[in-house]
C-alpha cells in the first residue's frame, strides 16, 4: 500500500509542515465552515433570543408585562425549592442513568465484538430500544409498570418476590427509580454501538503483545482496550451526559414528573414551565442548566485537550 502511494502526487511540503509543526493554515477553517454555518444559521437567532428572554419578564400569558427585569428571574429561580429538588434529581438521573448505560453498554460491546454464530442478528436486535420511537417507549414502560395490569407485577408475583401488586409509578418512593431503569434500557445500545465501533480501531498487535507478556483477559481490558479507546469513551460519555440531562420525553410520557414532583428533573421542569409559556423563567433555568453542564464538561475537556497535546 505504501509503495503505491509513493507514486501519486507531488509532495506538498506546506501540508506536511502543517501537520508536523502544527502551523495554521486556512484549511481547518474551510473544513469546519459548512458545519458551523448550518448550526449558526438555525440556532444563533433563537439562542440569543432565549438568553435575552432570561433577563425579561417574558410570560406569553401576560404579553402586556413583557420587559427587562435584570436578574429577577434568576433570583426567583434560586428561591424556588422545586428548582433545587429538580437539580438534585437531575444529578442522580445523570449519574445512575449514564453510569449504568455505560457499564452495560460496554459489556455488551465487548460481547458483541467477539466472534460467535448469530452475531449479526444479536447486534441488530440489541439496537431495538434505540429504534423504538420515544412516544412508544414511555407508553410501553408505563404499561409494563402498570399497577393493575402490568406484566412486571405479574412476573414478580409468580416468582413470589412480592406479595402485593406495586403501583410503581404512582408512589413517590418508586416512580423515580422506575424511570431511571427505563432510561438505562434506552441508552445501552448507544454505548454498545459507539464503543463497538471504537474497538475496531484497536490494533491486534497490542493484544498479541499483551498475550506474550502473560496478561490475562481482565488485565488486557484495562491495559490495552480501555487506553486504546480512551478518547471514544470520553466523548461518548460526555455527549451522553448532555443528552440524558436534557432528555424530557421518557419522564414526561411516563409520569409527567409526578407524583408530587417526585420524578421531575430540571429538564422536565423547564419543559413544563416552557409549555405553560413562562418563557423568561424557563430560559433562566435553561441557562443555569447549560452552565452547569459546561461545568461538568470542563474537567473532561481539560483532560481531553491535554491528552491531545501530548
Amino acid at each position: 500500500m505504501g509503495s503505491q502511494l509513493k507514486n501519486i502526487a507531488a509532495p506538498d511540503f506546506k501540508e506536511v509542515i502543517g501537520l508536523l509543526h502544527k502551523k495554521t493554515t486556512i484549511w481547518p477553517y474551510l473544513l469546519i465552515a459548512p458545519a458551523l454555518i448550518v448550526i449558526l444559521a438555525v440556532v444563533f437567532v433563537p439562542a440569543v433570543n432565549a438568553i435575552l428572554m432570561s433577563f425579561q419578564s417574558y410570560d406569553l400569558r401576560r404579553p402586556s408585562q413583557i420587559g427587562f427585569i435584570g436578574l429577577e428571574n434568576y433570583m426567583e429561580v434560586f428561591q424556588d425549592s422545586l428548582f433545587w429538588s429538580s437539580l438534585v434529581r437531575t444529578a442522580l438521573w445523570v449519574i445512575f442513568g449514564v453510569g449504568f448505560q455505560f457499564i452495560f453498554g460496554f459489556i455488551l460491546a465487548l460481547l458483541l465484538n467477539r466472534k460467535f454464530k448469530g452475531r449479526g442478528i444479536a447486534r441488530s436486535i440489541s439496537l431495538i430500544p434505540w429504534v423504538t420511537p420515544g412516544v412508544l417507549i414511555g407508553l410501553m414502560w408505563r404499561w409494563i409498570y402498570d399497577g393493575s395490569y402490568g406484566v412486571l407485577n405479574d412476573i414478580l408475583l409468580r416468582l413470589h418476590l412480592i406479595q402485593d401488586k406495586i403501583p410503581y409509578l404512582a408512589q413517590e418512593s418508586t416512580s423515580f427509580p422506575s424511570v431511571v431503569v427505563t432510561i438505562i434500557w434506552q441508552g445501552i445500545p448507544f454505548f454498545a454501538l459507539m464503543l463497538m465501533a471504537g474497538l475496531q480501531g484497536v490494533p491486534n498487535e497490542l493484544y498479541e503483545a499483551a498475550d506474550i507478556d502473560g496478561a490475562n483477559k481482565l488485565q488486557q481490558l484495562f491495559r490495552v482496550t480501555i487506553p486504546s479507546i480512551k478518547n471514544t469513551i470520553y466523548v461518548t460519555t460526555l455527549l451522553r451526559i448532555i443528552w440524558v440531562a436534557n432528555s424530557v420525553d421518557v419522564i414526561f410520557n411516563m409520569t409527567g414528573g409526578g407524583p408530587a414532583y417526585s420524578s421531575q428533573t430540571l429538564s422536565v421542569y423547564i419543559f413544563n414551565k416552557a409549555n405553560s409559556l413562562n418563557l423568561g423563567y424557563s430560559s433562566a433555568m435553561s441557562i443555569l442548566l447549560t452552565l452547569l453542564l459546561l461545568l461538568v464538561a470542563v474537567p473532561y475537556l481539560k483532560n481531553m485537550f491535554k491528552n491531545q497535546e501530548a
Binding site: A9, G18, V42, I121, V131, P133, G134, V235, W243, S283
Partner: protein
C-alpha cells in the same frame, strides 16, 4: 478435553451474560408485539397472558389499509436518510479539522459545538418555526432535515473527533512523508479505517431523526407527517388505541433492524479495508 472446557468458559463469559442483557433489552419489544396481537378484553383481563389467547391481526390490517401507514414511514425514511448523509458529510470534514489541525480558536469552536446541544429545544421552538416559515421550507421535509442536522452535526463532529483521536497517526504521517497530499491521505488511509465509526455515527444520526417528535409535529402537515407524529395521533382524549399504537411501533422497528443487520457488517470491515495489518 480442552475444547469442552473452552465451551463451558464461553457459556459463562459470553452466552450467559449476553442472554441476560438481551432479555432485558428485548422484553419491552416482545411485550409490544404481544400487546399488538391481543384483543382489548385480554389487555385488561384479570390474568396477564404471555401469548395472546386470541391472536388478531386487525390492527395491522387497519394500519396499512385504512391509514396508509406506509406514507409516514416513507416520509420518515426520506428525512432520516437525507439528514444522515448531510450530517455525516459535513461532520467528517469538521471532525478531521479538529483532530488533525491545530489552529486558533479550535477549542472555542469545539466548545461552541458542544454548547449547541446543551440548551433545551422547547425554548427555541417559536423562533425556529418563524425562521422555517420565512425561508419558505415550513411543511416540507427540508425543514426537518435542517433542524435535525443542526442538532446531529455537533454530536457527530464530537463523536468522529473522538474516534479520529484514537486512531494512530503514524500511518497518515507516513503517507504524507511519502508524498501524498492531505486529501489523498484522508481518502485512502483514514476514511477506510473510519468506516465502522462512520456507520456507528450514521446510525446515531438516523435514530435521532427517526424518533424526533417536537420539531416533527410543528414543521410538518398531513402530507409529510413522520412516524412519531402519526403514532401520537393515535392517542386522543379518549385514551390510547393500544392495538394500533403497538402495531405501528412494531412496523417501524422491524425495517430499521433489518437495515442495521446489513449495516453492521461494515462495523468490522474497517481494519481489514484500511490495511493496517499489511
Amino acid at each position: 478435553m480442552r475444547e469442552s472446557k473452552n465451551k463451558t468458559l464461553k457459556i459463562f463469559t459470553l452466552y450467559l451474560p449476553l442472554l441476560v442483557l438481551l432479555v432485558f433489552l428485548l422484553f419491552p419489544f416482545y411485550w409490544t408485539l404481544v400487546t399488538s396481537l391481543k384483543p382489548e378484553q385480554e389487555l385488561y383481563g384479570s390474568t396477564v397472558t404471555y401469548w395472546p389467547m386470541h391472536t388478531t391481526f386487525d390492527s395491522y390490517h387497519k394500519l396499512f389499509v385504512d391509514f396508509n401507514f406506509l406514507k409516514p414511514m416513507s416520509n420518515s425514511f426520506v428525512v432520516a436518510i437525507i439528514t444522515t448523509i448531510l450530517s455525516l458529510a459535513v461532520s467528517v470534514l469538521a471532525a478531521y479539522a479538529f483532530s488533525r489541525y491545530r489552529f486558533k480558536g479550535r477549542k472555542a469552536f469545539m466548545m461552541l459545538f458542544l454548547t449547541n446541544n446543551m440548551f433545551p429545544t422547547v425554548l427555541l421552538l417559536i423562533p425556529l418555526y418563524s425562521i422555517m416559515r420565512n425561508i419558505g421550507i415550513l411543511y416540507t421535509p427540508m425543514s426537518l432535515v435542517l433542524s435535525y442536522t443542526t442538532f446531529t452535526i455537533p454530536f457527530s463532529v464530537w463523536l468522529l473527533n473522538g474516534y479520529l483521536n484514537d486512531l494512530p497517526m503514524s500511518l497518515e504521517e507516513a503517507a504524507l512523508v511519502d508524498g501524498c497530499n492531505r486529501a489523498k491521505a484522508f481518502l485512502r488511509i483514514i476514511l477506510p479505517i473510519l468506516i465502522p465509526c462512520l456507520v456507528a455515527t450514521g446510525v446515531y444520526i438516523f435514530m435521532t431523526s427517526w424518533n424526533e417528535y417536537t420539531f416533527a409535529v410543528m414543521f410538518t402537515n398531513e402530507a409529510n407527517r413522520t412516524i412519531p407524529v402519526a403514532l401520537k395521533n393515535l392517542i386522543g382524549q379518549l385514551g390510547v388505541q393500544w392495538d394500533l399504537l403497538t402495531a405501528g411501533g412494531i412496523i417501524t422497528i422491524i425495517p430499521v433492524c433489518i437495515m442495521f443487520f446489513f449495516a453492521q457488517k461494515r462495523l468490522v470491515e474497517g481494519l481489514t479495508a484500511g490495511a493496517v495489518k499489511g
